[in-house]
Every structure is written in structure tokens, then in C-alpha cells.
Subunit: 342 residues, 2 copies
């Protein structure tokens, strides 16, 4: 007994009225007599009529869908941002279509092209690392030229004029290192990824800034660059801790920090007495590691909420004036066991 989807046309035929009468009756229009309305509404309820969204989208030129393109869904930070986006989107009656670029330029472009043809009203995205490396933003420019709203978050670029939300990564790193210095540390290491990622560069800059401010010389040997976020394998880090005298470490992500702490412990160092650790992106590992990790919280959920609000505002405003804003969130340093706290 398959109840096939019922349309206005079916109801109209069944009840011997016109389609527009049905349409109006279901919208409780004053034009229609009470009798007819009741009859039609009863029938519609009985057969569980629901208007077809696609038809409405076509008519209204509005889909009530927004696209989110992120580099990686398994990454806790993006997940957090997504949660914020989803929350606001749902509140405002939007669905969220999600695409993962897997850090690939091509996948980013393809996803965008597929969805830009009417499927969504706007985009929220964070650039893939490959895109940042290539420095090619034509797909984004085309989007904005077509008047499709776009909001960039976290991994953004100056090349594209659009709304942006980001974390003050430089300042997060600066304050972290400042804190370490004030705790009396002198040989502060930085564990980073290759620096084509905008955020990684910003964090390194904050590190430099703090050292400079306190007249501590930057030693290249205290900066460890690891190829990719996931590759904590190999013994680059172990060698680093064996060869360098280090009394504090700032890591650009949790994994590096957790891994670094284990190695330091294995080598007999006490945390935080001998070496302090601070790691970016306050995720699940920071809370549950042993010792727990002092972390720079990125406020991903808040970021997602702001991005969604910005986007929906653009979607729903009809003024053609192109005015963009960039919102910068301040990170928070969450003090835990891996640092000496006042």
C-alpha cells in the first residue's frame, strides 16, 4: 500500500476544483469559501499532502540550502564549526549540504561547481591546503561575480572579497609564548606544519613576536617543521627532543602536542616542571591526555554560528551594495596540567 506522493493536481482532480483553488485553500486564503477550504484541507490532511520543495525552490529562486565545504570532516575543529553552522542554519530554516574537499584543490572546485548551479543559496568554506598552496582562487571569484554569497572561515585569503570569520591565531600564539616566557622559560620550541597554511604562518608569527618582545633570540634549531598534520610517525620529534635542550613547547595542533608530551615523558622529562607544553586547537585530546594539555581554544562553534549568520544575512538581504566584513575572534588559553599556572 504505497502512498505515492500527492500533489495539488491530484487534490484538484479528486475534488473537482481547480489547482489554484487548492493552492489558495491550503494557504487559508480569504478568497476561498469556508466550505471549500475545509473540504480541501481535510482531504489534504487525510492524504498527508506536503508541498514539493523542489517546485517551490524553482518558483522562488531560493532553495533554503546552504553549502559548507571543509577540508576534513574527521578533524575535530571543523566538526565543531560545522556544529555551529548547523545550529543557526536550522534555526533560520536552512538545510546544510556538506562537502569535504579532502584538502584537494580539484575536489574543492568540483564540489563548488556542482552546487553553484541552483542547488544552494550560498557557501561557507575553509580553504583546502592545496588551494592555499596553489594560491588559485578563481573558483571563488567566479562565485562572487555571479552574486552568490560566500563566507570564508579560519583558512581565508585576502584575494577574495567576501565575508570572513577567523581566529586571531597570531595573538593566540603570542600570548601562549608570552605566558611561557613569564613562567621563566627561555628555550621555547615551536612545532609547526609547513607554513603554506595561512593559520600555521600566523601562529609562527605570534611566536616570533613574543620572543622578539622579550629579547629572546630566535633559534632555527628550536623550530621543528613536520610535513603534514597526520604524520606524527617517524622519529623526527624524538630526535628533536634528544638533540635540543628545550624547556617549553608551542605546538600548532593537538596531535603534535600529545605526541611530544609522550616522547618527553619517555625521555624522562617531567611535565610541566622540565618542559611545558601548549597546543593549539582545544579538542578532545587536550582534555583527556595525561597530563591534560594547556590549549589555545579556537571557539569553533562560535565561528560556525557567526559564519552562518553572516551568510544568511547576505542571502536574505536584497541590497546590491557590496560591503563585506571580517570578524576576528580572540582565542582563549585554557590552562591545564601541562603548564605551570599561577
Amino acid at each position: 500500500m504505497l502512498k505515492r506522493k500527492i500533489t495539488l493536481k491530484h487534490i484538484a482532480r479528486e475534488l473537482g476544483v481547480s489547482i489554484s483553488t487548492v493552492s489558495k485553500a491550503l494557504k487559508n486564503s480569504e478568497e476561498i469559501s469556508r466550505d471549500t477550504k475545509e473540504k480541501i484541507q481535510a482531504f489534504a490532511k487525510l492524504y498527508n499532502y506536503k508541498p514539493n520543495n523542489i517546485a517551490i525552490s524553482l518558483k522562488n529562486k531560493s532553495t533554503k540550502n546552504i553549502a559548507v565545504i571543509i577540508p576534513d570532516i574527521v578533524h575535530h575543529f571543523f566538526t565543531t564549526v560545522f556544529h555551529g553552522i548547523e545550529k543557526i542554519a536550522n534555526e533560520k530554516g536552512y538545510n546544510v549540504i556538506i562537502c569535504v574537499s579532502d584538502e584537494s584543490f580539484d575536489k574543492e572546485v568540483i564540489n563548488m561547481e556542482i552546487l553553484a548551479n541552483g542547488s544552494v543559496d550560498g557557501f561557507i568554506m575553509s580553504l583546502s591546503s592545496e588551494t592555499q598552496l596553489k594560491n588559485d582562487y578563481n573558483h571563488l571569484k567566479e562565485l562572487t561575480e555571479q552574486g552568490i554569497p560566500l563566507v570564508l572561515f579560519d583558512r581565508v585569503t585576502d584575494e577574495v572579497a567576501c565575508d570572513k570569520v577567523l581566529i586571531n591565531d597570531r595573538d593566540g600564539a603570542y600570548r601562549s609564548v608570552k605566558k611561557l616566557i613569564e613562567n621563566g622559560k627561555k628555550r621555547i620550541a615551536l612545532v609547526a606544519t609547513e607554513d603554506y597554511l595561512s593559520v600555521s604562518k600566523e601562529r609562527a608569527d605570534g611566536y616570533f613576536q613574543a620572543l622578539k618582545e622579550f629579547n629572546i633570540e630566535v633559534k632555527e634549531s628550536l623550530i621543528l617543521k613536520l610535513p603534514s598534520m597526520s604524520s606524527v610517525e617517524g622519529d623526527a620529534m624524538e630526535n628533536f627532543f634528544k638533540n635540543e635542550k628545550v624547556d617549553a613547547v608551542l605546538c600548532v595542533n593537538e596531535i603534535y602536542a600529545i605526541h611530544g608530551m609522550r616522547i618527553a615523558q619517555k625521555l624522562g622529562f617531567n611535565i610541566p616542571q622540565d618542559i611545558e607544553f601548549i597546543g593549539f586547537t582545544d579538542g578532545i585530546l587536550s582534555k583527556f591526555s595525561n597530563p591534560t594539555l594547556t590549549a589555545v581554544a579556537q571557539h569553533g562553534e562560535k565561528m560556525g554560528e557567526i559564519a552562518a549568520e553572516m551568510l544568511i544575512e547576505k542571502i536574505e538581504s536584497d541590497n546590491e551594495v557590496e560591503t563585506y566584513r571580517t570578524e576576528i575572534l580572540e582565542p582563549t588559553i585554557i590552562e591545564r596540567e601541562s603548564t605551570l599556572n599561577a
Copy 2:
């Protein structure tokens, strides 16, 4: 210089031909002369014409979208499943619309209703805990009655006839406990959530089965039930380890296990010599905890891939015969430092 979205109609008018000629020319139809085709195709390329997906959806009664409804996006396991779904969906030309029920029955129903009206071709979902508690599946039944394909994963129910993918949770728990027993352990604890979640119940059953098989008496005092997955707060667990003599623990999730290990360590126990730990859902914490956690891997990504394949197969097959299958994946026990290994 906003390049507004261009349609067949614009091209036709601009080139002085009919809409259908344009449509055919862009599809490289044999009917159209080479000259006309070239002219039209060139023009279309110049103005970056892309067919409107919404119009095509309306025409074809197919959206190439699938909906995924999960209880929680920040949860690593669901994220993993989602990754598998996304991968297959993209390969087969589908977009993924994601909704989060936040473990709420109402949100689950609402999300479903919004999307069931033409926005998507089918659903993949895992039941919210509230839905399992209420035991009310009318929204799912209505869906299938309307002929909309549905695949359930992980948290499923017998009440609804549809395709299903799940993990043999019972067996994962059974094998875990068997392993602990074979390691010589006698006082094996179970740390679980309230058991209205289908998976939690299954895991408890596996625990009982193993004990029974080895003639070990089930002691209620060795079973600790915690209210909710996130609430590891409070000292229920600490009291448990203080009051009960325990030599091994099976936890239904990572968080419980990591938390349990820290408490055990604080109380002076050695892991795994004094107490062994095994935790469900091999996530990021298991790999990076100290000691690393022996875990029951759920193969989330594989699960997602299978679910997506099942769904798309149903969407694209037109035979009306209703035949459903349930695929059961075997979990894998990943041995790490928290257990004694051969």
C-alpha cells in the same frame, strides 16, 4: 559586473533561435547542424552557462541528494561513518545533506519531514537515543510507506522494514571479555550507559555471554552504569574503583575508558598488570592516551560506505519488489598497551 545566472532562454533570445534548439545543441544532439551547435556552444561557454539543477530535479523527479541524519556530529564515530557515506555518494554523483538530531526525537522527526518533501532521494540515519527510548518509529514507517528509500546504521530497530548496517556489538564485547578472561582476569567490570540504546544493550549481552561461558558469576556490583556519554564528571567512577576489587574493565566507549584509566593510575594501579582496559569505539583518544587503549574498532567508514551503496542501489533500482537486507560487520579488537598481549 555581476554576471547573473544565464538560462537557455537568454541564449535563445540572444542568438535568435528557439529554446529547444539551444537545449539540443548543448547536448550535442545529431539533429542540430554543426554551425548552429558551434555558435550556441561558444556562446554558452563564453557566458559560462550551467544548467539549473533545481529545474532538472523537478523534471526528473530526482534530486541527486541524499540525507544523513545522525545524533551527534562532534562524535568521532559518526564523523567516521559520515566520511564513508560522503565518499561513496560523491563517487556516484550524489550530494549529502546532513542533519543532526542532537539525540532528540523531535529534531529527528522535523528534519525528516523537511527533507522528505522532494529535497532528497533517500535517507541514511542512526536513531537518536530519545527515539529509541520512546520506541516510536512512525516517522520512519511513513517514509518507507511513501516509497522513499531508507537505510539505518548502527542504532537500528526491528520495528522498521528497511536496509540496515550494523556492527556485531555483542560479539565485540564477547571477544573482548573472553580475551580478558584468557589473560587470567576474574573480576571483570563493565562500564556502560543506561541501556535503552540498542548498542549498549548488545555490548552488555556480550559481556554476560563471555562470563557465562567461562562459568564466572555475574556480580552486579562490578557493573557501573553512568547516566550519559558526556557526563564523566562526578566521582561515581572513582568510588567504583575504590570500593570494588577489579582486575579488568570493559568500557562501552572511549571516554569512559580513558577516564577510568586515569583514575586507576591515580589510585596506584598499574595498567595493564593490575588492571586491563578495553574500550569500545576505536577513536582518536585510544591511539593517543597513555597508555594507549586496546579498543574495539567499529569500522565506521566501512559502515558508511556500505550504507551509501545500499541506499543508492535502492534509489536507482526501479523494481517495486520490497526486499531488504541487513549487513552485519564484525568489529576488530585493536591491541594496544592497556592489555596484556601475547
